[in-house]
Symmetry: C2
Subunit: 507 residues, 2 copies
C-alpha cells in the first residue's frame, strides 16, 4: 500500500564541492546495480555530502582475466578515497577464483566486520522481537587466510592462523565500539577448550583488554554453547566479538533470527580504509527486475555516513527508513505474512523513504547517531579504526625440535619409525609419531585409523636441550637421502621458556 | 506430580551369563555417577542383557598424573568389550590437558558422532515443536587434530586436516544411517566457497557417495547459511552430515532448539568400538545432590542397546521414558514452565521410568527400533560402522616448489625478498610472499597489515618444472646459513597434474 506520508519536513542539504567527501562506489553484480541506484538516490535526496566515483569489480573483471576480480585502477580509487560503498558481487563457480570480498578485506586491512542485527517487530515477523545486538567479527585471519595444501594422496590441509596484533585490534575495536555506541556488554566466543593455543590467544587478549574498560560487562562462551544460546535467546546479547569463522556463522544466524537477511548492512573497518555493504548476496535469480530490496545496502550506507562524520544525514535516512516499515511499505522479499497491497519496486521504495525524510518513527525506536571523534592524524581515514598495536619486544625463542610430516603409504607406524631412526642425526631423536594428531608410536593402538600422512616429532637428543637450525636441515637431508617423502615441517620452539607446541593426543 | 501409571505390563527379561554382552562403563565426574546409577537401574529392570565392567577415567586420573585422563587398564577394557557407556567427565582447567573425549574418540577411531535432536512438544517447551533431525558429525579430524604451534612472537597456528578416507567414512555412515532409520534426506554442510581444498574435498566426496543412494534426497549448504536455516527452521532438516567443527556447533544449536540439552544422547561409532553418552557436561555445580536428569545418558544407552542388537529392550525403555514425559514426570532442570508438583530426583525418575516399562506413549510418537544387520566379521564390533575404505592407488605426484615460512620482525616485504633472493638456489626461485595469506610481494600495498610471519613461495626456476626433494633441503640450508629464521615448510605438489595448493590472496 502507498503511504499517505506528509511532504518531507526537511529540505535536502546542498552539497558543495568543498564539503563533498569522495567515496568509491561499486555497483556490483546481480541485483547490485538496482539497489545501488536506489541507495544513491536516497543519499542524494537526504543531502549526503558525498562525491561518488564508480569502479568496476566482480564478475565482469573475473571474466576479463583478472583472477582476483579487481583491476589496478580500482585499487587506486579505493586507496585514495578510503571509503567504499559496495554492492554484492558474484564470484564465478569453478576455476579456483579467490573470493574478491576476502581479497579486498585482507589487502586493505579491513580487520573488523561490524554487523548490527536488529528485530523490527511487529513490522517484520520474528520469533525474537527484542533482538538488538552487534557482531564484531575478526575479518582477516583464522582459516580465511586461504593457505591450503594437498599434502598426500589422502590428506588436505588448511592453516588456521591467529595473531596477537590481529586479536588486539579486533578486541579493542569491539570495546571502543561498545563505548561509543552506549552498549553495555561484550561477549567473547572461542573454542579454546580444544584450540588452546590459537583460540586461547584470542581469549587471553580479550581478558587483557577488557581490564581497560571497567564500565563494560564482559563474558566468554565456548562457541558451540554460545551459538546455541544465540539461536535461542538472542535478546541476551549485546556486542559479540569472535574470530573470523565463528563470526561468519554467528552473523548469519543472528541476521536470520531478525526475520529478514535483506534488512542488514555491515561495515568493514580498517586502519586506513573502510567498506560498507549489505550482508546479502547478489541474488542473480531476481536481477534486472527492479524488485530487490535496497534496505541492506542503504543501512550499510548509513553506517558509512556516520563513519565520514555525517551523522545528521545518517540519522535522517535511518529514521525515514524505519517510518517506511511502520507505514507498511514493503518490497517483494517481505510480501506475505499478512501484508496487504502490492510490493514496492526498488526505486519506488527509495521514493517512499525520501517522502519520509525528516519524520521520526513512532513505534520503533528512533535512532540518533553521533559523529565519531575526528581522526587523530590526517593520514587516517575519517573516523578510522584504532591504529595497529605497536610491535612488542621479541620473546626469548629457543628451537627445541621439529615436527616432520611424511607421506607414507604403509600402515605400520613401527615400520616408519624404524626407517626414520635409521637416518643419522646426532642432534635430534624421534620422540613420537601421530596420525591426524593421535599418537601411534610409541605404543599405538591398532584401532586408530591411519591415513598416509604422518607427523614425526623430533626433539633434541639431549633431553630438554636446544637444537641448531642447521641440525634440522641436516636431518631433512638425511631423511630425503633415505627416500622418505617429507612434505612439510613445523619447528618446535619455546618462547620465554614456555612451550610453543601442543602435545599429541594420547601423549 | 506422581503418575498413577499401572503396574508394568512386561516382566523384565532374565539375563543369563550366556547372553549378557560385556560393556565398559565409566561413571565419570560431577553428576556422572548419579545419572549412571539411575541409567543402569533402568537398564537392569528392562532386562538389558549386559555385563557392565567399570573403569575410572577423567578428573581423578588427570590428578593422579595421567596426562591423558585415562590409564592403561581402562584402554584394555574398552578394546576388549568394544562397547562403552560413558558418563560426562571433567577436564581440569589449566595445565594444558588434552580433552579426554577427543583422545578416546581419536584413539579408538570413533569417526561418527550421531546426535538425534527431537522436540517433545507440548511436554517440553520449544519454539520448534516439529523438530526431528539427526546430526552426523565427523568426529576425528578437522581442527580437532589438535596440532598447534606457536611460530613467531605474534603468530599461532592450528592445522585443519581433512582426509579422503575420513570424508568417505562419515558420508557413507550418514547415508547408511538414513537408509537404516527410514530417513529421507541428507544435507551436507561445508564452507567450501572459502576452503576450496579441504571443505571442497568433503563436498566432493558427498557428491560421489550420494550417487549410490538414489532413494535419498540430498542437498548441500554453506555452513553459515545452513546454521542460520537450522536455527530458524530446524523442522526442514532430516539428516545433516558435516565436518567436525561445524558439527560441534550445529549439534549444540539443534539440541538447544529442542528445548532442553538434558534430554539428548549421542553415539560415537567406530569400525571396532562404539561409545554412548549424554550430550551434556558433568555439571559440577549440582553434583552429589541426586537431582540431575539421567535422560541424556539413558537415551545414549538406548542407542547402545540398538547397537548391540537388543532393539527390543531399547524400544521398551525409550517408550517408557516418553510415557514419563506425557505423565508430567520431571526432574529439576525442567521445573517451571507451568509444571506442577515437585521435581523428581535422579533415582525416583529412574523408578518412574521402570514403572512405565511396557507402556506406549499416546500423544508422542512411539519408537520401534530394529536390530541392525549382524556384523560381517567376528572381529568387528556388533553392528559396527562401515569398514575403512580401501586405500586408493597413488596419484602421480610431482614436487613443484615449496612454501617456506619465515619469522621476520621487519616490516618490508621488499627487504625480505631481497634477502631471500640473495641465497643461492639454482633450482628454485622466489615467486611470491604473503602475510596472513595476502600477497605482499611483488606488488604489495602499504595498507596490508603485516605480522612477523611471512610465507615465501619458491617454485622451480624453470617455469612449470619439477623440483628435486634435495633441492628444497639445499634451499633451506642456504636460507639457514644466511641467518633467515625458517619456521616451517609446506611442499607444493601436483597430483595427476592437478595443482595441490591454493593461490595467494591477490595473486
Amino acid at each position: 500500500m502507498k503511504s499517505d506520508a506528509p511532504t518531507p519536513l526537511l529540505a535536502a542539504a546542498d552539497p558543495t564541492p568543498a564539503t563533498a567527501v569522495p567515496i568509491t562506489v561499486a555497483h556490483g553484480d546481480g541485483i547490485g546495480p538496482e539497489i545501488m541506484q536506489a541507495t544513491l538516490k536516497v543519499l542524494a535526496a537526504a543531502g549526503a555530502r558525498i562525491a561518488p566515483e564508480t569502479i568496476d569489480i566482480g564478475e565482469k573483471l573475473y571474466r576479463a582475466g583478472h583472477s582476483s576480480g579487481i583491476a589496478p585502477e580500482a585499487w587506486e580509487s579505493l586507496r585514495r578515497t578510503k571509503v567504499f560503498l559496495k554492492s554484492p558481487i558474484t564470484t564465478p563457480q569453478g576455476g579456483g577464483y579467490k573470493s574478491l570480498n576476502v581479497t579486498i578485506r585482507k589487502t586493505l586491512g579491513l580487520y573488523a566486520n561490524v554487523r548490527p542485527c536488529v528485530s523490527y517487530a511487529p513490522f517484520v515477523a520474528t520469533r525474537h522481537p527484542k533482538m538488538d545486538l552487534v557482531i564484531v567479527r575478526e575479518n582477516e585471519e583464522d582459516l580465511y587466510a586461504g593457505i591450503e595444501h594437498r599434502q598426500t594422496d589422502e590428506v588436505f590441509q588448511c592453516l588456521k592462523l591467529i595473531t596477537r596484533p590481529g586479536c588486539e585490534k579486533i578486541v579493542r575495536y569491539a570495546f571502543e565500539y561498545a563505548r561509543a555506541n552506549g552498549r553495555r556488554k561484550v561477549t567473547c566466543m572461542t573454542k579454546d577448550n580444544i584450540m588452546k593455543m590459537t583460540d586461547g590467544l584470542f581469549h587471553r587478549v580479550f581478558d587483557e583488554i577488557r581490564a581497560e574498560y571497567p564500565e563494560i560487562e564482559t563474558d566468554h562462551m565456548i562457541i558451540d554453547i554460545g551459538a546455541a544460546r544465540l539461536a535461542t535467546r538472542p535478546e541476551q546479547f549485546d556486542v559479540i566479538v569472535t574470530p573470523n569463522l565463528y563470526g561468519d556463522i554467528l552473523s548469519d544466524i543472528a541476521a536470520e533470527l531478525t526475520g529478514s537477511v535483506g534488512l542488514a548492512g555491515s561495515a568493514n573497518i580498517g586502519e586506513h580504509v573502510a567498506m560498507f555493504e549489505a550482508i546479502h548476496g547478489s541474488a542473480p535469480d531476481i536481477a534486472g527486475q527492479g524488485i530487490a530490496n535496497p534496505s541492506g545496502l542503504l543501512l550499510g550506507a548509513v553506517m558509512m555516513l556516520v563513519h565520514i562524520r555525517q551523522a545528521d544525514i545518517a540519522t535522517r535516512i535511518h529514521n525515514a527508513w524505519l517510518c517506511t516499515l511502520e507505514d507498511g511499505v514493503f518490497t517483494a522479499d517481505l510480501a506475505g505474512a499478512g501484508r496487504v497491497g502490492r510490493p514496492f519496486g526498488s526505486m519506488d521504495f527509495a521514493d517512499a523513504i525520501i517522502e519520509r525524510l525528516g519524520r521520526l518513527p513512532t513505534k520503533l525506536k528512533p535512532v540518533q547517531y553521533q559523529n565519531p571523534a575526528a581522526p587523530a592524524t590526517p593520514t587516517e581515514a575519517p573516523a578510522g579504526g584504532a591504529a595497529a598495536p605497536a610491535r612488542r619486544p621479541a620473546a626469548r625463542k629457543a628451537l627445541v625440535g621439529v615436527d616432520v610430516f611424511v607421506h607414507f603409504s604403509g600402515h605400520s607406524a613401527d615400520a616408519l619409525a624404524a626407517r626414520l631412526q635409521s637416518c643419522p642425526s646426532a642432534a635430534l631423536r624421534l620422540q613420537m609419531i601421530t596420525n591426524r594428531g593421535v599418537k601411534v608410536w610409541p605404543g599405538g593402538f591398532p584401532e586408530t585409523f591411519c591415513t598416509d600422512h604422518w607427523r614425526c616429532r623430533f626433539v633434541a637428543s639431549e633431553s630438554g636441550g636446544q637444537v641448531a637450525a642447521r641440525a634440522i636441515v641436516d636431518l631433512l637431508g638425511a631423511l630425503t637421502d633415505a627416500g622418505i617423502d617429507v612434505i612439510k615441517t613445523e619447528n618446535l620452539c619455546t618462547f620465554d621458556g614456555e612451550q610453543g607446541f601442543a602435545l599429541g593426543q594420547g601423549q
